[in-house]
């Protein structure tokens, strides 16, 4: 690793990486003045219950929170979420992240998930090594795999491929990266695991 093969890669600004747009809060008239909102909260009697005369004095029952599940709006796992998981992995030879080096790109991530927790789901990532003879492509791929296996539910199948035409020995690397046995064997290697730990240390 001492010999840097690609000494001068193109670097993207960390800020220009795709991010999830800040979920904009709906501006309602009530939230204009947060102080007033907290003041209005101080009424001991909840005015919204007033139509129901009986509820003025009967306090909300304690068992209220038990029982039926509340309907929560689900946020499905999408490609942006996967991107956020892997984009901040450090490159093993540059002090930069995979996102900055454009090794992983948002359009190259596919997620197939029916949303049903009992069905299999799949993530396919196509990575672009910085140069076509990059010898560290397998290491990078392994790093991504370890990260995703730690971060995704077990029902997900993870496929990591090199982007078509981005590497001299594309098929060979693809095979290696998606071979369960070989990945498991690699993770037994303590030295390799500590290199990967270092790569994952920058994850946000």
């Amino acid at each position: 690793m001492s010999d840097v093969i690609n000494a001068n890669p193109t670097i993207l600004d960390d800020k220009s990486l795709p991010t999830r747009a800040e979920e904009t809060e709906k501006v309602t008239e009530r939230s204009l003045n947060p102080h007033l909102a907290s003041l209005l909260d101080l009424s001991l009697v909840d005015s919204s219950n007033l139509n129901d005369q009986e509820s003025i004095h009967s306090t909300p029952s304690l068992e209220n929170d038990e029982g039926s599940d509340e309907e929560e709006e689900a946020d499905p796992i999408d490609s942006q979420e996967i991107f956020d998981l892997v984009a901040h992995i450090s490159d093993p030879e540059h002090p930069l992240t995979l996102g900055q080096l454009a090794v992983v790109n948002l359009p190259d991530i596919q997620v197939r998930d029916s949303g049903n927790k009992n069905e299999m789901a799949e993530v396919i990532i196509r990575i672009t090594p910085t140069i076509t003879h990059c010898s560290l492509a397998t290491l990078i791929g392994l790093g991504i795999r370890v990260r995703l296996e730690r971060c995704l539910p077990v029902r997900y199948r993870i496929t990591i491929l090199l982007k078509e035409g981005s590497h001299q020995s594309e098929n060979q690397v693809n095979k290696q990266l998606n071979d369960k046995e070989r990945v498991a064997a690699a993770c037994e290697n303590d030295q390799l695991l500590s290199v990967i730990s270092k790569m994952l240390a920058t994850c946000k």
Binding site: E29, L40, L44, V45, L50, D65, E72, R155, A201
Partner: protein, 1000 residues
Amino acid sequence: MDLLQTSISQYLANVNHDNTKALEIATKLASQIENKHLKLLDLVKSLGDYLTADDDLLRPKATMCLSQTLDQISPSGLTKHDIQVLISFYLSKIDDLKSTKETLFGIDSLIVMNQFPPIHIKPILTILQDQYQSTQHLASTRFFTFDILNNLFDKFPHVVQKYSNQFIETFIHIASGEKDPKNLLISFTLNGKISSTLQIDNYKDDLFDVLFCYFPISFKPPKDDPYKITSDDLKNALRQAIASNSLFAEDSYPNLLEKLTSTAPIVKHDTIKTITQCIKNYSIDSLIANYIELWNALKFEILHGDPDDDEDELFPPILEIFTTITQKLESNQEYFEKFINLVLDELKSNIQTLTNKQKQSCILLSSISSASPQAFNKIIYPTITLLLNNSTLSTQDQRSLITNLGYFTSSYILVFGTITEEKNVSQISENSLLQFKDEILILLGKALMSTSKIEVALRTLSIAELTKLTTLLDFLSPEEISLIVQYFTETVLIDDNEYVYGAGISGLIQIGSIDSSILLEITFPKLLDFLPIDGSMIEILIDDEFKPRIKIFEVLKSITRDKQLGDWVLEKLIKKLSELNELDNVYGFEISETCLVILKEIQRLSPFDTDLYLKTLYPQLLDILDKNHSNDEFLESIGDLIKLIIVYSKKNLHQEILDDSINKFIYEKGLITGSPNKLINIFVKIIAGLDKIVIFPKVDEFLDDLIKFTELNSNELNKEPYTKLGYLQLISLIMNKFISNDSKYINYLDNSDGISSINLEIFTWITKSIVLKMSSESENYITILFNYLSNEEFGLIITKSFEILVIDLNNFEKFKKKQNNNVRLLYKQSFFQIITPLLISGFQQTQDLKTKSNYLTSLSYILKHIKREIIIPHLSSFFPLLLQAISLPKSEVRYASINTILSTIDEIPDLVSSHLSTLIPKFLEMSQHKNTRLNNEKVRLICLQVLEALVHTVDITKLIPFQERIIKELSDVLDDPKRSVRKAAIDTRQAYYELGRTVD
């Protein structure tokens, strides 16, 4: 006599064993001698045999007894004769190697005596020179030789002058080979004194060698250093000594420059500082002889360095050397010019073309130009001419050109000063940067106004540089500053990039801080012109682009920072408010919030009286409210503005305001006689702002009426919480400010007809007023409220009362230096101390789950508003409560208690780690996506956060047993429907994966 013998024996027994005791005896003997109770002769006689004893252990002890006694005698305590006899005795003993230390100590003590005859100086020097070998003695012994010379030098400068050669020789003799830090410190100081006062021509080499052999010092004081000598003490002493005499120059400069090639930053820094010191102290002639050498050696440090990556911070001190050389050479015009020309000649080629040394060269030249006006003018003309030579520039080139020009404007500031901080320069008339002013302005203006918005760095840079130009003393004309203000105003309006916008705003603030009338003339009218006529336009068209109108308010809030600007803006904005129709509440709210922020900010920066606003703005605001008070936000915000105007006005006007307001609101509008009216909130604001010195007429009756009115109208009020809270706050404020009988309402709830929620609310707000005062009645009121927590009917709703007691409301804000209410600074502490024991014991005593939950809920309401520092001392006492609270079937309570654990986990690692086996399974269970009404997103999230926080606080050995379980059980959480929960689970799992694994 016997007594003396006893003392001596005791001394001999104690010395070297219990030295404090020995010192005590010596001090006693000394005072006896001074009081003439004891003759010195007797002491010597009694010691006599010991002093000459053959026993090598006893002899030094006896000598020590004599020396230490002498040391304790005041300088006037001995006669000339005594001293002479003693000196001869000591001098004869110097060859007694076993007691050299004690002997030298004795001599040293005698030298400081008033009557010490100078005639003995020469013999002392001779003996030290001939019969004393420093290598044979310990550091503590060698110390006395330095101290003797030092005392001689200080006390007898003329005699030392006379025997200067011998003195210097003796010094060199004793100083050679010294290595004890304490002794070296004296050695350096003494060397410095010698070199700067005596004739050292013949000894300069030896004196220099005895110094420079220690350079650079890399001394680390031992942990238990009794002398507290730091590395810096030694370095400074050595540096002073090396720089003490110009004669050292021929040796010091070459040697120092050689040390400069070291790669250790510490050595470099030390060397650079020493060179600077030498240049400052040595004569001009020695600089003339050496400046070329210095230049050649030092320029490389700069030219081959990287100013943007100066990790060791070598640039500033090296540049200071150049400034120092220039300043020093200025006393010799011939060499001054030679030096400047040398520098210019050498660096010319670097500047002419864009080389990788251009920046370094500019930095170097700027440091020289900052030495004096003359140097500035000599450097600027040729340099700037070369810099501005290139006509067509890429963005990159423009950026470096502006950066480079910036170095010289910084020199300008150092030489001539800024508008606010003038340097005393006599002839500012000549200033060669002035002739480039137009070119520079055009360059910067172009970089800002005609480059694409994408060029953030260039635009930000040119704003910063333009801002700097406006501060230069006697540089820009008012017209030119106006032009810059125009640039900035346009920029902040059209550019949304945070850097460019931020730079533009700080530019405007900077210019406004010197002369705000320029902003008033250009920026403010322009901003106000963009404000839409009514609230229907949320966006406004600026320069062909739509921008949200709120942007105008943001700019106004940021740049209105003095009274002159404030007066103008507030007047215009409030006029605007009065023109709005009733439907423009949001717009109106934005405007009044802007006014609020501006008024607060100006008051914060420099407080001023708002008496004038009371006459102008205050009635206008009341008129606006008469027309339009349908919207609560709008009403509240105008009310706050009214309150601020009252708070900041002189208090002698307040009585009139109160009387008028009572007339207007209570009598005319019938706020407590008619039906409930939300305008009560405005009356509350006025009361909140008034000084408490005003007299509220018939206040007791008024408060009773007010309470009765609130009770009677409770049904209607419950539908209008804002109005209700207005009445309740008014009760609280009046109780706090105008009623001195704190126990007036203590029995308010003792009503035979039973009570309703409105009574509890009223009582809560009365309690708040009492708690804020920190009245002695507080505990009684709080206890009554506390008892209601176990009440079947009201227990749950009363929990909220405890939030009311401690929440910070702006109607109860105490203003600095104003007496607008009786709110004590430490009321929360005092409240917390009363309530915590009540809650804890109540919790332990009751078996009723509902009541338990009420206690916890109220505790969590309280904790929400109390700072950690207040909580922490009580933490261990209510930690068990929190543990139970986690399991209570109420998500709010769960969240509150877990949150308390999380926010205090750093302070209580032991407490937490002793409960790991219950806590971890509990948190793991609650983080699962099950029973989500109870374990909602907030609860799940915070459980995960606590689990992660454990990694950083709890001892790793205690956590390892849970590691696998946590990783395994959290894998289900990775499929949580909520993204935030998934993310937290990922982070927590990652933390446990890495637990115990060291990443190098």
